[in-house]
């Protein structure tokens, strides 16, 4: 036993005794002594959590050039110093022995072999150039991630759209946030929320739907729960197809059959207007009622809504009419209502409509533009907002979330990038599902995309309807940059070892429009490199070093150059970050919320409100905003400053239960595991808590099928199947099953089952609803495998 440990023991024993007998410890005991149990680091480096869209501020503890601890940043305005189980354990997987540390090239025998960076990059450039020459500029695509830094996404986007002239740029936010984006664009005119998390602390009524906030955004849930604890008068309404822990704090619980929530939202709107609880003045001044083409009167809208009377809706879904009416009254009369939602509304074949209907409720009740009132879409990933949506790294977008189809936007970006007029293609590229459908082998004329660069995401596990897309990934030329072997690296022709966030630094922009900078804390292991360096090296080899000049080895310098380039392009847009210089972001403990047009601007709490939103005074906008307008939706396509109350129809899910597939299946995350589990499942504490995926089922359903706890079942959809142990829980609703998405084991990868039917407008797939059947195959088996793909040459036989 060394002195340090002995001293710690004595101190611990003394403290215990002191507390028990009520004797204060002496000054010598109280004098801070090293190794008193506080985390021992050389320094703490400011940054952001790697995981969800909350954007928790962190400090990264570095000792002897390794990350050894994490702690929350108490001055961060998102989390106030708290972290969830995932964020607090990041250091526990950073140095896992499975880390990719050398480039790998697949040889003739199908084995991945170590290679130098030069060899790997030269091969990539050669293949890309070859494909572009033989098959056209759009034969080489990029698929990025809401987990790349903003600087990285911006760089890849610039290279593809400004260098190759190709809009074949997509990212995994297509699979999670596209419906929210399209919802904001169609309802409000501009992407991303008007308000911020601060509205939690002043709202009087919180409507939570399509979100298991307690597990998917636990630190925001904590914030909500604290508010409820301090102010029990806050009304919380939860509308969900599973009775998760989130509903524990609900004053009103609205259960729904999956896909029928649109009817409930319509019904709430009808009740509000029928009872005269709507805000007539607000509707008249700041909204129009439209179906996207024509406008309608309030009477016409009310007549349309009358089919969604609460009693009628209660017959089509399990939500009681009384509850719908109560929800409507609270929503309308609270004085300040806030709604939050996430994948439950977005990952749907009618995701855009679902988003529109929530915005409708806020518009008809005037719940915008004041503290505590907002329709706030929770973002799933840490940088879907900042990195992909705001930089325009999707196939139809340009930086500032503008459209490639817009000639003025193209001209402005071409000028800012100093490239030839007409370089940017006006035709949008394919969405993600289309992209992976079009990917294939050189000699397959039906597959126009021959190569794809996949960065910081795992589509071979996360794409829905895997049986359809896995053969394409196997056939195409895949370049994959990641930190661990994954299902996707199993198909890669070139694997590039990537630096982790704290090994390179960069900006993440979270759900509430807040950009926060992570400083580089440590060097990456082995030969791993930052994605921005990889992008710049490919650009250099393909003749685009002028476009992407930030190709040095210092990742923070490269980041700063890329960031400065980006904010220059968007400086005159309503998403401006021109005032968020890198210097400011480095100094700030809390990040900066756009719009932020100048260095002395503090950032924006609430958009569309004069005095709070600097866009009211920005050239290009101020001329069009009436001087007496205190609120104005300045991105209204019609130039009237109005938002759109969408008169949508009703449609359920693309696939609903029938005799053959009698159950609804929904999917999602658990609090301990992130996405496909490649990081979190390598933390022993987390892997122990969730060693495998399972099927959650209601006791009534289990009993009808003769299932006991832990029995093994096959869950089958029209697309594929899983073999899983059963978990019988009261939180499930009868007829609705749940499988978490984090298991890397093929038999338990839920995306073999999930539906790739997409929303017609957003092209986001309906992960949340599939129809399945269950077959019992035996009693309990030990499947607590804590399975990770460790061997890069392990084959994916599907």
């Amino acid at each position: 036993m060394n002195m340090t440990r002995r001293e710690m023991l004595k101190l611990s024993v003394a403290a215990s005794a002191a507390a028990a007998v009520g004797i204060p410890l002496t000054a010598e005991t109280l004098t801070p002594v090293k190794n008193s149990g506080e985390i021992d680091v050389d320094r703490w480096v400011k940054g952001v959590c790697r995981f969800c869209g909350t954007g928790c501020g962190v400090y990264i503890g570095v000792k002897a050039n390794k990350v050894v601890a994490m702690k929350g940043n108490p001055e961060a305005k998102t989390n106030f110093g708290y972290l969830c189980v995932k964020g607090s354990m990041i250091h526990k997987f950073m140095y896992h022995p499975d880390r990719l540390t050398t480039p790998l090239i697949r040889n003739q025998n199908g084995k991945l072999e170590p290679a130098t960076w030069d060899k790997a990059l030269d091969l990539i450039a050669k293949k890309f150039k070859d494909y572009q020459t033989r098959f056209g500029k759009n034969s080489v695509a990029y698929y990025g991630s809401g987990q790349c830094t903003t600087e990285e996404s911006y760089t890849f986007n610039k290279l593809w759209k400004g260098g190759f002239g190709s809009n074949y740029v997509e990212g995994n936010p297509r699979l999670c946030m596209a419906s929210a984006v399209a919802g904001y664009l169609s309802s409000i005119g501009s992407d991303e929320p008007a308000g911020t998390y601060a509205d939690f602390e002043s709202t009087k009524c919180l409507f939570i739907t399509g979100s298991n906030t307690s597990e998917a955004h636990p630190i925001l849930f904590r914030r909500i729960w604290e508010r409820k604890r301090k102010d029990p008068s806050l009304k919380i309404i939860v509308c969900e197809p599973r009775k998760t822990k989130t509903s524990d704090i609900a004053d009103l619980w609205l259960p729904i059959d999956p896909g029928t929530d649109l009817a409930v939202f319509h019904s709430i709107a009808y009740e509000i207007i029928k009872n005269g609880w709507h805000d007539k003045a607000y509707i008249e001044k700041l909204a129009r009622i439209t179906d996207g083409e024509k406008t309608f009167t309030l009477d016409e809208y009310t007549k349309h809504l009358s089919q969604f009377d609460a009693d009628a809706v209660a017959k089509m879904t399990r939500c009681p009419a009384k509850s719908i009416r109560q929800a409507a009254e609270w929503f309308a009369k609270s004085g300040a209502t806030m709604s939050i939602w996430c994948m439950g509304l977005n990952q749907r074949s009618r995701g855009v409509w679902a988003n529109n209907l929530i915005h409708n409720l806020h518009l008809i009740t005037g719940n915008f533009g004041k503290p505590g009132a907002d329709s706030f879409s929770l973002t799933g990933q840490p940088n879907a907002c900042g990195g992909v949506r705001e930089t325009g790294s999707l196939s139809h977008l340009l930086p500032g979330c503008r459209l490639v189809a817009n000639p003025a936007a193209r001209a402005q970006v071409e000028k800012a990038w100093n490239i030839k007029d007409g370089t940017i293609d006006p035709k949008p590229g394919p969405d993600t599902v289309e992209m992976f459908a079009a990917l294939g082998a050189e000699n397959d004329t039906s597959k126009p995309i021959k190569a794809i660069f996949i960065c910081t995401t795992n589509p071979a596990q996360s794409m829905p309807n895997l049986p359809k897309y896995l053969p394409n990934m196997q056939a195409g030329f895949l370049v994959v940059a990641d930190i661990f072997p994954t299902r996707t690296t199993q198909f890669a022709d070139v694997v590039l070892p990537a630096a982790f966030l704290y090994e390179k630094g960069g900006v993440y922009g979270c759900s509430e429009r807040r950009s926060q900078l992570t400083e580089k804390a440590v060097n990456p292991p082995g030969q791993a490199k930052p994605d921005i360096w990889i992008a710049a090296q490919i650009a250099k080899r393909m003749g685009h070093s002028k476009l992407i000049p930030w190709n040095g080895d210092d990742s923070m310098k490269a980041n700063e150059l890329a960031w400065t380039d980006y904010i220059k392009v968007t400086k005159d847009t309503e998403k401006t970050l021109w005032g968020a210089t890198y210097k400011r972001l480095k100094e700030s403990k809390e990040g900066i919320q756009w719009p932020c047009p100048s260095e002395n601007h503090p950032g924006t709490y609430k958009r569309y409100v004069r005095g709070m939103d600097p866009v009211f005074d920005m050239p290009g906008y101020k001329e069009k905003i009436p001087a007496n307008a205190s609120q104005y939706f300045y991105v209204d396509a019609k130039g009237e400053g109005k938002a759109n109350i969408f008169m949508r129809a009703y449609a359920g899910a693309a696939e609903t239960p029938n005799a053959e597939y009698p159950f609804f299946l929904t999917t999602g995350r658990v609090v301990e595991q992130w996405h496909t589990g490649t990081m979190t499942n390598r933390v022993p504490e987390i892997a122990r808590a969730h060693p495998n995926a399972y099927l959650e089922i209601h006791p009534t359903d289990a009993s009808k099928l003769g299932l006991k706890q832990g029995d093994m079942v096959e869950v089958t959809s029209r697309r594929g199947k899983n073999t899983l142990p059963v978990r019988i829980v009261e939180v499930a609703l009868p007829g609705v099953l749940f499988i978490p998405m984090h298991d890397q084991k093929k038999e338990r990868m839920v995306n073999f089952i999930c539906n790739d039917a997409v929303d017609g407008a957003s092209k986001e797939p309906e992960y949340k609803i599939a129809a399945v059947k269950i077959t019992r195959i035996g009693g309990p088996m030990d499947v607590a495998e804590q399975y990770n793909i460790s061997d890069v040459n392990e084959k994916f036989v599907f």
Binding site: M1, A19, V33, G81, Y82, S214, P218, E685
Partner: protein, 116 residues
Amino acid sequence: MKIVAILCFTTLLFAAAAYASGEHPMDMEKTECIICHSNKDVVSKPEVVKEWNQSRHSYTGVGCGNCHGDENNFQEKPLKNACESCHSMQVAETKGNVQCSGCHAVHTFTVHRKMR
């Protein structure tokens, strides 16, 4: 009058060799902590799981592993570094070597343990 009395009060703490090296005293295999620790036939204080379930930690997914580690880095009585990741301000204000659990009763984590 001098009375020297040696009495054993509460908590006779036997630390086996396993504790000394940061290993859980028995092989955990792949079992979740709460399976054994809620079973009175296996552990002496199964009520800790119930206590934890009543705490704020259980609401936000702060489970056993957060504070106690896993099999190979097990901490029977976590020091304040376990609390520091989320409560860094409070830990910084804690006087010297007093541990958080000295005053904040595990596992319910009410604000203050009853002081005599």
